[in-house]
Symmetry: C2
Subunit: 196 residues, 2 copies
DNA sequence: GCACACATGTAAGCCGTTACATGATTCG
DNA sequence: CGAATCATGTAACGGCTTACATGTGTGC
């Protein structure tokens, strides 16, 4: 059977399981929130559970209900040989990986800046800077935790990329703030253009 | 009637119409491909047409079939006063604009680098650099076309942001390439971990 | 005459989110 | 004992893409 076409998110979830150890869906979500999230977004709980079921149907993962020894009824997943092989095939795939998708609501608003109060616009961008700095702290925390673990060499590279990316995001926003300021402090809001 | 909740894409399409002039769905798509695309992605034709219908139902745009004077049966849209007001309300909205969504397939693969040939991985990133440079050329073309048009001050700022962002994207990818190289040229692919 | 750009749509379907429901365990 | 965290799901829905269908006008 050839490797089936799956959404990237499915490979991402399988990828989370490609690192040593078994994990529950819940743990996978936490993990995604502190790694995947920075460069690919983190799927919702419900989707992770759904993907896990699909991956199990495909034979790419197996699950084990916690026995009587463990408290709580949880289900831990492990990648199978087939899963690892399929993932490797996908990763080596000669097809192009698909376009980067960027949806930046702040830019959307700046782009339509002629409709907003200049002051409000600057506020929006400034808030964005704050959020980016928060994320930067998160990514640095994640990086600190991954530090020194040899098995995580590649995740570390991805995190370092994310760190630099967030630094750039902050710089970019600051540059935009300067551009906005350069429009002139008294840049008026475009009024209803009825009869000029 | 309060401003209804609409997907950002709807506001984006309405936003395209907030600049002077009437436009067909087809033209809107072309426009989106050379502006919106760089920071928000460009919706498919079919979605643009769908949004236009929705906006017309809401009374935010009006449409005009080309009369007998014009060739081709096309439909040109114009924003209404209500549309402009709703868009301004949305733009000024005090609610947070929503999270930046970034989905980076190349990073996903780097993150799972332990499954791939190092050589293949570097190739992937190098291709990404090329694509980013192509996009950079596109954004610079768009910038050149927008140059000097006063009505496009804000779109220009968005494009300048996009330009810098793509420059950063290239730098980021180059940095990652260096990180990958630093792993050592002979970094082996993880083999099936059956019996250690 | 044929290909290509213009121009508009329909239909199907997956992806992914939000909201909701449920219950166990731990900690103060 | 109540709140928070752990843990797993279902249901509904919306967004968006892909593939398909159709027809006109332009240029080689």
């Amino acid at each position: 059977m050839p490797t089936p076409r799956l959404p990237q998110t499915a490979w991402a979830v399988l990828g989370l399981l490609s690192f040593p150890g078994e994990r529950t869906g819940y743990e996978l979500k936490k993990w995604a929130d502190s790694s995947l999230r920075f460069f690919y977004g983190a799927p919702a709980f419900s989707q992770i559970y759904a993907e896990l079921r699909r991956l199990e149907d495909l034979g790419y993962v197996t699950s084990r209900r916690s026995g009587p020894e463990e408290p709580r009824a949880k289900r831990a997943y492990t990648i199978t040989e087939e899963g690892r092989a399929a993932l490797a095939t996908w990763a080596a795939g000669t097809h192009d990986p698909g376009a980067v998708s960027l949806k930046h609501p702040v830019l959307l608003r700046v782009w339509l800046g002629h409709l907003a109060e200049p002051e409000r616009l600057r506020e929006l961008v400034a808030e964005h800077v704050t959020r980016a700095e928060d994320e930067l702290r998160d990514v640095r925390d994640a990086l600190a935790k991954a530090d020194g673990v040899e098995a995580w060499a590649h995740p570390q590279i991805a995190l370092r990329w994310s760190e630099r990316r967030l630094v750039a995001e902050v710089e970019l926003a600051r540059g935009m703030l300067a551009d906005l300021a350069a429009l002139g402090p008294g840049q008026p809001v475009e009024d209803s253009p009825t009869h000029g």
